[in-house]
Symmetry: C2
Subunit: 237 residues, 2 copies
């Protein structure tokens, strides 16, 4: 939760060559648009556990994640935490409802973001309805994911929660890196617990149980799916 002191370094690379060129909001932009965007964006690095922005802070920027993973979370006054989402490269972070952030974002491992001034980006989008539609599309997709997660939090058992999480996380990684037998879990057990509305012990026990049942194999920092079909069935049920 330390704050990064690293100031924005000049972008350095052209947006056109960006690794996430075809993923995030920028997918809606042509070369001319991108050239304009280059002048507005700065790449910024954060070390593990550094805060990109915090709940209640003023919203000054919007972000595209370039490398690494972020956790987004909300805290209750007494310290209880609910992780509302994990952010992967290509994801866009920049639809603040108000002048203050309603949740916090910090780095899980080293992270690079593409940062833009919120006002400059707002001006940039003004006469670009295709970009507005793209942002809208992303917001609606996030809303849909949020509702799926409500179902998980409100109506699923611990085993179903964990299975659903593993399948969903695998699917996101597959989209980024292509198929793989193992599912990397850069977040720790507490993060998973706070995402699924469980305690760390219950998550741990559930992992062990799934391992005993030959559904998954547990390794430090990852799991592999021994029986993807069964995991998917638990996630669907």
């Amino acid at each position: 939760m330390r704050i990064s002191l690293v100031a924005g370094a000049p972008n350095g690379k052209a947006c056109n060559d960006c690794a996430i060129r075809d993923f995030g909001v920028c997918a809606a932009l042509d070369k001319t648009d991108l050239r304009e965007l280059e002048h507005l964006s700065r790449h910024v690095r954060f070390a593990s556990c550094e805060t990109v922005f915090a709940q209640e802070e003023m919203t000054t920027s919007v972000y595209n994640l370039l490398e690494g993973v972020l956790r987004l979370y909300k805290l209750l006054p007494d310290g209880r935490r609910q992780i509302v989402g994990f952010v992967l490269p290509g994801d866009f972070l920049g639809m603040p409802i108000s002048v203050r952030h309603s949740f916090s974002a910090d780095a899980i491992g080293a992270v690079t973001v593409c940062r833009l001034s919120r006002t400059a980006f707002a001006r940039y989008t003004e006469n670009k309805p295709h970009l507005l539609r793209r942002i809208n599309e992303l917001a609606v997709r996030e809303l849909s994911q949020a509702r799926d997660h409500m179902v998980l939090l409100g109506r699923r058992s611990a085993a179903e929660k964990v299975a659903t999480f593993l399948i969903g996380w695998r699917d996101r990684l597959v989209q980024l890196n292509g198929p793989s037998t193992t599912v990397a879990l850069p977040m720790n057990r507490q993060d998973i617990a706070d995402f699924l509305g469980l305690t760390i012990e219950t998550v741990s026990r559930t992992f062990t149980k799934l391992e005993r049942d030959h559904v998954i194999g547990v390794l430090p920092g990852s799991v592999y799916l021994l029986d993807p079909a069964r995991a998917e069935a638990m996630a669907a049920a």
Copy 2:
């Protein structure tokens, strides 16, 4: 869950005189825009428990709620239900992520909606960036509410859930109808339970407990807040 057979009746009234003129998406539109919109919209009535649209159905329309209350919910294959939101007059329902609805909507009591063809509305928005921004704003607000609800579902006790629900619902009603000591609850206990990730029995017991503690008074179809401060404290905690 019956399907309404009532076909779309001609709008009849001018959008400019609409009751929710200043609330929903239409707040972003001037008189000229509204006149154009009148030709696209139809008022449709639904009786209690009729389905406006169902999960997996094709998305053909977008809606503005004019009168009444809707529940939005998702079902798991085994029948478990999670209500993802209640819709009040002025709320906009029309940001489908895909060609099929990802949740169902049905009427709690009699309902009137303003229905527009999805494709016609999409064409209508095409050259109206102010409307796009308005839609975006609404989507982001909903997303924020969804995240708040995730915290409730994942990290709050039954008593906190019920108190938070009552305060939140009261605030929405106040915005529509002005201050009032009583909070009308058109939805039944099962709806509340499915919204809060509880069982009907737990909701009932929690109401009784809050009544014993002189926080609320329970009446058929409504409650009144005897100790709003205490209820708000439970909702914030």
